[in-house]
């Protein structure tokens, strides 16, 4: 067997996992497939996490590089050309076999394949696609596959990648032309954005395709946070555009971790995890809570408040919007209440026609009472002492006291 005859496989896998770990995407969601023609594998609509690593991040897919050789010299990347590290490659057959063996032991939900660029992007991308084709055809594998699209791949090859994967992604890493010019001189921002555009067009053309894979899980991307002086406004403006125009499924934010010594990069003592967390919260507000970008950040206040989550922050700036009467407010208004999410908002609407809702009931419906209670009434009656609602300054103080400064990160 191929795997047995390769004693250095441990080292190869370790190197190529080390090179891939900074990619934060691990979602195995967005596609539900259970096929009788499959020899092995299925996918679940909401994804399945198989383990959690020492950093508390979920492991769903085998996240690995085909190779850590690279012709590019991006300042922030561990695999940059200049770095003096061991380089290796996993051949398509080896990688397919490894994925298959991991999958049937239920270690993983599928494969996340990225790569450095060896020779040319085109050639490397072809080898990545070969890996997936071996998996799909030889092993009859119907589990989840996420393929990274390398910059400067031809359209024909991109189409082939889309055909065999469940999700594709192309990483922007930086939010504008200027930052990219400075840190990743071989890449051009406008061209990468152009490719993302092209991919979303192809996905749209293919969305009704019944047969095969065709990346029904859509497209995602990643932006590094804290390697440049770019503001949260610039980052979220870009995310907003990608969600609206390109229908991206996810934009991932990756707190910058210094892996190289480079004068162009800031010297950080710790990765900006809190900032990353706030960006995710703001991203959620854009996608699931009906907030518009300028309600969260704008050019005059370009950064998110790290002390208060962005939704509470909006509420404190817009106290005239409150209190909301939960006995009759429509969904989009309920969603504006701090401590109420899409699930609890829907439950409120379901239950309120039949039952009177007080703090006790709301808690059972999943509302975070310590935040929500200042902002709501039931049939005109406040659920806390009247004076707080009548005096915005005191309310603001109270709420700030309760605002979470605890950091939880879970993608």
């Amino acid at each position: 067997m191929l795997i047995k005859s390769s004693p250095s496989l441990y080292e190869k896998l370790a190197l190529l996992a080390r090179g891939a770990k900074f990619d934060v995407s691990c979602a195995s969601s967005g596609v539900a497939r259970e096929s009788k023609s499959a020899k092995i594998g299925s996918t679940a609509r909401f994804g399945i996490c198989h383990s959690w690593s020492s950093d508390g991040r979920c492991i769903s897919l085998l996240k690995v590089l085909l190779t850590n050789f690279c012709i590019n010299d991006c300042a922030y990347c561990i695999n940059r050309r200049k770095n003096d590290i061991d380089r290796t490659i996993l051949l398509p057959e080896e990688l397919a076999k490894l994925t298959y063996e991991f999958y049937r032991r239920n270690y993983i939900e599928g494969l996340f394949l990225s790569s450095g660029i060896m020779g040319s992007a085109e050639r490397t991308m072809e080898m990545m696609i070969d890996t997936v084709k071996i998996l799909r055809q030889k092993y009859g594998f119907y589990g989840y596959v996420h393929l990274k699209i390398l910059p400067y791949t031809s359209e024909q090859t991109i189409r082939e990648a889309i055909k065999w994967a469940d999700r594709v992604s192309m990483n922007l890493e930086l939010p504008n032309e200027q930052s990219m010019k400075s840190l990743a001189p071989e890449k051009k921002f406008s061209e990468i954005l152009g490719t993302i555009n092209r991919i979303s067009q192809i996905l749209r053309e293919r969305q009704d395709q019944k047969e095969g894979f065709f990346s029904k899980g859509g497209q995602s991307t990643q932006i590094i946070v804290g390697a440049t002086s770019d503001t949260d406004y610039e980052i979220l403006k870009l995310s907003n555009l990608l969600y609206k125009r390109n229908r991206l499924r996810r934009v991932y934010y990756s707190g910058y971790i210094p892996v190289n010594n480079d004068s162009r990069l800031p010297a950080l003592t710790a990765p900006p995890l809190l900032r990353e967390h706030r960006l995710y919260q703001a991203d959620w507000l854009l996608r699931f809570y009906g907030f518009s970008l300028d309600e969260i950040v704008d050019p005059r206040n370009p950064n998110l408040d790290e002390n208060v989550d962005p939704k509470l922050s909006w509420a404190l700036r817009n106290l005239n919007f409150f209190p909301v009467d939960i006995s009759n407010a429509p969904l989009e208004v309920l969603l504006r209440i701090p401590g109420v999410g899409p699930v609890s908002a829907k439950k409120i609407i379901h239950f309120r026609r039949h039952t009177s809702l007080g703090l006790r009931e709301l808690k059972k419906l999943g509302v975070v009472i310590k935040r929500a209670k200042y902002f709501i009434t039931w049939r005109g009656k406040p659920l806390i002492e009247r004076s707080l609602i009548d005096s915005p300054e005191r309310l603001s103080e109270q709420v700030q006291l309760f605002s979470e400064n605890q950091l939880r990160i879970s993608l």
């Binding site: 441990y10 896998l13 092995i40 198989h50 508390g56 032991r105 710790a270 059972k364």
Partner: protein, 224 residues
């Protein structure tokens, strides 16, 4: 599971077949009552039974009574403690099933069987086996709940109840290599600068770790 088999499963849990003739009418009535429920409510009752709680029978009878008073029982989950218990416990069972879809670990043993041992809080081996029977159609899978000492055999989309009579066969030659590769990968993929063991403990509770190989100190120990 299909609705009709859910109805049967729930009925059997309430009134097992071997009970006296006297129970015949009740059996019929209960079947009729259950048939009126939608599939998500049936699933909730089924999962509640899997929790093996003390009051399962009484609670479900109470539930059916409330239902016959033509009110959606779910709405009572805020005011009726029994109904609240049914929904919240069923939710816990549902979560544990989902967790083990990820946490189950198989090892290849002689005869090309995939053997997976686990020790769940609730009696979830059947719904879990259905998942793996469909996912690994061609494989011969043995799933073993070591807490209750019950087992299933899954193959080609079907699930059979099984009894473990002999010792589990030895791992095949590639087994050690593959599992060591996985453990190496697992250690490598964590980012040191972001270490967060507390979050890891929340996500993978210690009680489950014994059967998850990447958390065991060595192969033997993790597999028991």
């Amino acid at each position: 599971m299909k609705e009709i088999s859910l109805v049967e499963t729930i009925r059997e849990a309430l009134i097992p077949k071997q009970q006296s003739l006297f129970a015949q009418t009740t059996r019929f009535e209960i079947t009729e009552q259950l048939k009126k429920l939608d599939s998500s409510t049936l699933k909730t009752l089924y999962f509640y039974i899997l929790s093996e709680g003390e009051n399962v029978k009484e609670d479900i009878s109470h539930f059916l009574q409330r239902k016959s008073q033509s009110r959606e029982p779910y709405l009572d989950s805020l005011s009726d403690r029994v109904i609240e218990r049914i929904y919240s416990v069923a939710q816990k069972v549902r979560r544990e099933i989902h967790r083990f879809k990820g946490f189950m670990r198989f090892r290849e043993v002689e005869g090309k069987y995939l053997y997976g041992a686990f020790s769940p809080d609730y009696n979830i081996i059947l719904p879990l086996s259905e998942h793996f029977a469909k996912r690994f159609r061609e494989e011969k899978i043995v799933i073993h709940d070591i807490k209750r000492n019950i087992a299933t055999f899954c193959h080609r989309g079907r699930v059979f109840k099984a009894v473990i009579e002999r010792e589990i066969p030895k791992p095949t030659p590639p087994e050690q290599l593959i599992s060591e590769l996985w453990k190496r990968y697992f250690d490598e993929i964590g980012i040191k600068e972001r270490e967060n063991r507390k979050l890891q403990r929340q996500k993978v509770p210690l009680k489950y770790r014994r059967t998850i190989i990447e958390f065991g100190k060595n192969l033997k120990e993790s597999y028991l």
